[in-house]
C-alpha cells in the first residue's frame, strides 16, 4: 500500500511536442503534399493557373456553405438542413425570376431573407422547444425538400432563365476574378472578422466552449445559438442562389450533397492549426483539401465512386490522426 509509484511516462516530452505540432499542422502538410504529388504526377494538367482558379471557383460554394455551418457548430449545434435548404432556395430563386417575373436583385434579397427565416426556425426549435439540433434540423431539412418538390413539381426550372442571372455566378466582374471566388472571400472574410474580432464572435465562442459558464457569465445563450443558425441559414441560401445561377436552372435536390462536403470541410478544419476547435480558416483549408483531392482524381480519370471514398476516408484519417496525436501529446 505504501509504494506510491509514479506511472512511467510513455512518451518523452520532445516526442509530445512533436506530436502536438503534427496534430496542428498535419492537415496543411497533407494538403501541400497532395498538391505536390499531383503536380509531380501530372505536370501539364494540374499545376496551372487555369486549373487552380477552376478548383477554387468550384470550391467557393462549398466554402461559403461550410463557413456558415462553422458558426452553427461554433455555438455547439449541428445544422443538417443546409443542403436541403440550399436546394429549395435555388428552386425558389429561379421560380421567382422566371415564373413570377421579379427583378433579379429583389429575388436574391428575398431568398437571402428566406434563408435567415429557415435559420430562425431552426434556432427557435432548438432553443425554445429544446429539441436536439440533429433532429430539429433534419426535420426542417426534410420539410424544405418537400416544399421544393411542391413548388416545382419535381421538374427543373430551365427555360427562360435570364442571362443576367447566370452572370451572378459565371461573371468575372472584378479584375477578371470569377465572382464566386470574390463572394467567397467576402463571406469568409466577414465571418472570420465576426467570429474572431467582434464582441458577438467572442460570445459565440464562449457559448460553444462551455454553455454553462457562458450563461453564468451573463450571456444570453439562446440568442447566440439562434444567431448561429441564422448565419448558417443565410449562407445556405447564398449557395442555393449561386448554384442555380451556375447550373442555369432551379433543380430540386441539386445542392443536397453540399451537406456532406460542408461537414467534412468543417471537421477537417477543426483538426487544422487549433486543437480540435472549429474555426473559419480551418474550414477553408478543409474545403481546399477536398476540392484539390476531387480535382486530382478527376484529372487522372478516376471514377466517380472514388471521390466519395476519398472524401470519407480523408475525413476520418485526418481528424483521427490529429485527435490521436493530440491525445498522445497530452497523455
Amino acid at each position: 500500500m505504501t509504494d506510491a509509484t509514479v506511472r512511467p511516462r510513455l512518451l518523452s516530452p520532445r516526442t509530445k511536442v512533436w506530436l502536438g505540432t503534427f496534430a496542428r499542422w498535419g492537415t496543411i502538410l497533407g494538403l501541400a503534399a497532395m498538391i505536390l504529388a499531383f503536380a509531380w504526377l501530372s505536370p501539364r494538367a494540374f499545376p496551372t493557373v487555369l486549373n487552380f482558379t477552376n478548383v477554387l471557383n468550384q470550391a467557393s460554394l462549398t466554402m461559403i456553405i461550410a463557413g456558415g455551418l462553422t458558426v452553427a457548430v461554433l455555438v455547439g449545434e449541428l445544422d443538417l438542413s443546409i443542403g436541403f435548404a440550399a436546394s429549395l432556395h435555388g428552386v425558389l430563386v429561379t421560380g421567382l425570376i422566371v415564373a413570377s417575373g421579379l427583378p433579379i436583385p429583389l429575388a436574391v434579397v428575398l431568398i437571402l431573407a428566406a434563408g435567415a427565416l429557415v435559420g430562425l426556425v431552426n434556432g427557435l426549435i432548438v432553443t425554445k422547444m429544446k429539441v436536439n439540433s440533429v433532429i430539429a434540423t433534419l426535420g426542417v431539412g426534410t420539410v424544405l425538400t418537400g416544399l421544393s418538390f411542391a413548388y416545382s413539381s419535381g421538374v427543373p426550372i430551365v427555360s427562360g432563365v435570364p442571362e443576367a442571372f447566370l452572370q451572378i455566378s459565371l461573371g468575372r466582374w472584378l479584375f477578371g476574378i470569377p465572382n464566386n471566388i470574390v463572394l467567397m472571400v467576402l463571406v469568409l472574410g466577414g465571418l472570420w472578422l465576426l467570429v474572431e474580432r467582434t464582441a458577438l464572435g467572442q460570445e459565440i465562442q464562449a457559448v460553444g466552449g462551455n454553455p454553462a459558464a457562458a450563461r453564468l457569465a451573463g450571456i444570453d445563450i439562446d440568442r447566440i445559438k439562434i444567431i448561429g443558425f441564422v448565419i448558417s441559414g443565410v449562407c445556405a441560401a447564398l449557395v442555393g442562389i449561386l448554384l442555380a445561377s451556375r447550373l442555369g436552372s432551379g433543380t430540386t435536390s441539386a445542392a443536397d450533397s453540399y451537406l456532406l462536403t460542408a461537414f467534412a470541410s468543417v471537421f477537417l478544419g477543426s483538426a487544422t492549426l487549433r486543437d480540435g476547435e472549429f474555426h473559419i480558416l480551418g474550414t477553408l483549408v478543409g474545403a481546399l483539401i477536398i476540392a484539390f483531392g476531387f480535382n486530382g482524381l478527376n484529372i487522372f480519370g478516376a471514377p466517380t465512386w472514388s471521390q466519395y471514398v476519398f472524401q470519407g476516408s480523408i475525413l476520418i484519417i485526418a481528424v483521427g490522426l490529429s485527435s490521436l496525436g493530440r491525445h498522445l501529446a497530452e497523455s
Binding site: 500500500m1 505504501t2 506510491a4 472578422l193 474580432r197 467582434t198 464582441a199 458577438l200 464572435g201 467572442q202 460570445e203 465562442q205 464562449a206 466552449g209 462551455n210 454553462a212 459558464a213 457562458a214 450563461r215 453564468l216 457569465a217 451573463g218 450571456i219 444570453d220 486543437d275 476547435e277
Partner: protein, 524 residues
C-alpha cells in the same frame, strides 16, 4: 434509541472483522485529506461514519473503492491484508458502493438495471431473462422492491432506485455495502423503506457502512459509529457513549462555543434584502439583509441549500416564493444575464464546469463578462486587442495570477490561478453584490490567503459580498457575519467573536435536529 439485534462484540472476538482499516493517509498536493484514519466493521454490522465537511469521509470511501490510492495505511478483509485496490478488486472482495448519483439506465427495466454489469445466465447464447428473473425475484422482494421487475425505472422514486442498487449489490454477493448520504433527497416515508432494507441486510449478514450528516438516522440505525475530524478517526462510539451530544462534541472537537449575539447597529445601507425566498425542496423561506462592504458568510453542511440559494439570487433558477430588493428597488432576475445587468456576480462552485472555457486563453475568459469594455465602441463592436491585453494584464498584475502570458489557455493554470481569473472577471465589472461559492476549494494555501485578501479588499471598496464555504476555517477568517443553513433554512446567525468553526458546525447539526423534529411531527 433502539439497539440492533447484532452481536458485535462477540462477532469481533470469534472471527476477525470483516473490514479493518488502520492508519490510512492521503494527501493531494500539499493538502492532507486523510491522516491516520482507522475503522473496523464486523460481519452484518451497520456502522456509522460521521464528520463535518472536509473531515475526510469522501477520501476514505474513495480509498476503499479503489478510486484513489492511499499514501500509507493498511486495509484488511477477514484479517487478510489486501494489496492496492482497484474498483474491480474492491468489488471482487465483496464491497459495493452506492453514491448519491445513482448509476442508472433510465430506459431499461428494474430487472435490467439490477443486473447491470453482472454476468447473466444464457440459453443458446441468448440472455435468459426468465431464468434471471426467477433468481432475482426473491432477493428483490426481500430488499423491499414493490415495483414489478419488468417495470421501467423511469417513473420510480429515488428511494426505489436506492433499493434497486441495494438489490444489485446483493446479486453481486456483496458483504459490505457503503452508502454515502442515502437519505439526502428522500422524504421521511421513503427513508423508512430504506431503513427497513438496511436492517434486513444486517440480519442477512451483510454489513453496511452508513455515511450521513443526519445524526438521528445514525443513532437509529447504527450500533457503532466512527467519527472523523480533520482527516483522522477521533472516536469510535457505541453502547452508552453513543449519544447525540457525544457525537456533536466529537465532530466539532473541544467544547461547543456559545454564540455571542452581538449585533452591530452602525452598519451602512442595505444593498440586497431577501425576504422569505423559497424554491422547495432545497430552499425554504430564507430572509436576510446584505450591507455594502460586508462579507456575509453562509455556512452549513453539504446539501443544506446554500448553492441553491446563490442560484436564486443570481437568477440561474427562479424563486417560487418570496421577494428580493436590490438597492431599494424590486429585484427578480429571470436569468443570469439579468442579474449581471443589475450588478450581481457569481463565482460558481464548480469553476471548471461552470465558470471557465478551459481551452481558451486567460484574456478570453476574463473578457466574456466584460465585452462592452474591450470593444472599440458601441457603434464599432470589434474587440480591441490592445484594450483586451491591457485589461488582462491589469488583472494578472493586480491579482498576481501566475501565468506566462495572457494568451495561455486557462486549463494549464493551477486551481488557485484559475479561481483568480474567475474573480478577476467580476472585479472588472465592479458588481454591487458578489457571491462566491466555495472560493478556495481545491486551491493551495498560498493562493487561498491571496484570494481571501482580494475578497476583503473588494469589500473594503464597498462591494457587498456573500461567501459560501464548507472549509472549516474559512468563514471565521473571512466573514463579518455568518448565516448557518440546514435543510434549506437559515438556522443561526453568528456575528463577531461568535463566528468560530465550532459554532458553525454545532449550529449546522443543531439546526438539522430542530428541523427533523418538526419533520417527524409532520404526518407526511
Amino acid at each position: 434509541m433502539q439497539m440492533s439485534a447484532m452481536e458485535v462484540g462477540q462477532g469481533r472476538r470469534a472471527v476477525p472483522p470483516l473490514l479493518a482499516v488502520s492508519g490510512l493517509a492521503k494527501a493531494y498536493g500539499g493538502a492532507r485529506a486523510l491522516s491516520r484514519a482507522s475503522l473496523e466493521i464486523g460481519p452484518g454490522e451497520v456502522h456509522g461514519l460521521v464528520g463535518a465537511n472536509g473531515a475526510g469521509k469522501s477520501t476514505f470511501i474513495k480509498c476503499l473503492a479503489g478510486l484513489t490510492r492511499p499514501d500509507s495505511g493498511t486495509i484488511e478483509i477477514d484479517g487478510q491484508p489486501v494489496g492496492p485496490l482497484t474498483p474491480q478488486a474492491a468489488g471482487d472482495l465483496g464491497m459495493s458502493f452506492i453514491h448519491q448519483e445513482l448509476a442508472f439506465v433510465p430506459g431499461m427495466t428494474v430487472l435490467q438495471n439490477i443486473m447491470l454489469g453482472l454476468p447473466k445466465k444464457t440459453r443458446w447464447g441468448m440472455v435468459d431473462w426468465a431464468a434471471i428473473a426467477r433468481d432475482v425475484a426473491p432477493v428483490a422482494a426481500r430488499t423491499g422492491i414493490t415495483a414489478p421487475l419488468s417495470a421501467n425505472v423511469k417513473g420510480l422514486s429515488i428511494a426505489e432506485n436506492w433499493l434497486i442498487n441495494i438489490c444489485r449489490a446483493q446479486m453481486r454477493r456483496a458483504r459490505l455495502i457503503v452508502m454515502d448520504e442515502p437519505t439526502a433527497s428522500l422524504s421521511a416515508k421513503e427513508a423508512g423503506a430504506l431503513f427497513q432494507a438496511i436492517r434486513d441486510l444486517s440480519s442477512a449478514g451483510v454489513a453496511v457502512l452508513y455515511v450521513s450528516h443526519r445524526l438521528d438516522e445514525i443513532l437509529d440505525l447504527c450500533a457503532r459509529v466512527t467519527v472523523f475530524r480533520d482527516g483522522q478517526s477521533v472516536a469510535e462510539l457505541s453502547g452508552a457513549t453513543l449519544t447525540r451530544r457525544n457525537l456533536i462534541d466529537q465532530i466539532v472537537g473541544g467544547r461547543r462555543a456559545e454564540a455571542a449575539a452581538k449585533v452591530d447597529h452602525t452598519r451602512p445601507q442595505v444593498v440586497l434584502s431577501v425576504r422569505n425566498l423559497a424554491r422547495p425542496p432545497r430552499v425554504h423561506g430564507v430572509s436576510f439583509d446584505l450591507r455594502a462592504g460586508e462579507v456575509l458568510g453562509i455556512g452549513g453542511l453539504v446539501g443544506a441549500g446554500r448553492t441553491e440559494l446563490a442560484r436564486l439570487i443570481f437568477g440561474a433558477d427562479m424563486a417560487l416564493a418570496g421577494e428580493m430588493r436590490l438597492n431599494g428597488t424590486s429585484y427578480a432576475p429571470r436569468s443570469p444575464a439579468a442579474a449581471v445587468k443589475a450588478g450581481v456576480g457569481l463565482v460558481p462552485e464548480e469553476r471548471r464546469a461552470e465558470a471557465l472555457v478551459l481551452p481558451k486563453s486567460v484574456a478570453f475568459n476574463l473578457q466574456i463578462a466584460n465585452l462592452a469594455k474591450v470593444v472599440h465602441g458601441r457603434a464599432l463592436p470589434f474587440v480591441s486587442t490592445r484594450r483586451r491585453e491591457a485589461m488582462a494584464l491589469r488583472i494578472i498584475r493586480d491579482l498576481a495570477v501566475k501565468v506566462p502570458t495572457s494568451g495561455t489557455p486557462v486549463e494549464r493554470l493551477s486551481g488557485g490561478n484559475q479561481q483568480k481569473v474567475v474573480i478577476g472577471r467580476w472585479l472588472l465589472r465592479a458588481p454591487g453584490v458578489l457571491i462566491l461559492d466555495e472560493p478556495t476549494r481545491g486551491v493551495d494555501i498560498g493562493a487561498r490567503a491571496e484570494i481571501h485578501r482580494l475578497i476583503r479588499d473588494l469589500a473594503a471598496s464597498g462591494t457587498a459580498i456573500i461567501v459560501i464555504s464548507s472549509e472549516p476555517d474559512e468563514l471565521p477568517d473571512l466573514a463579518d457575519r455568518v448565516l448557518v443553513m440546514a435543510e434549506g433554512r437559515v438556522v443561526r446567525e453568528l456575528t463577531g467573536s461568535g463566528i468560530t468553526r465550532q459554532a458553525i458546525v454545532a449550529a449546522s447539526y443543531a439546526g438539522q435536529a430542530d428541523h427533523s423534529e418538526a419533520r417527524n411531527g409532520d404526518p407526511t
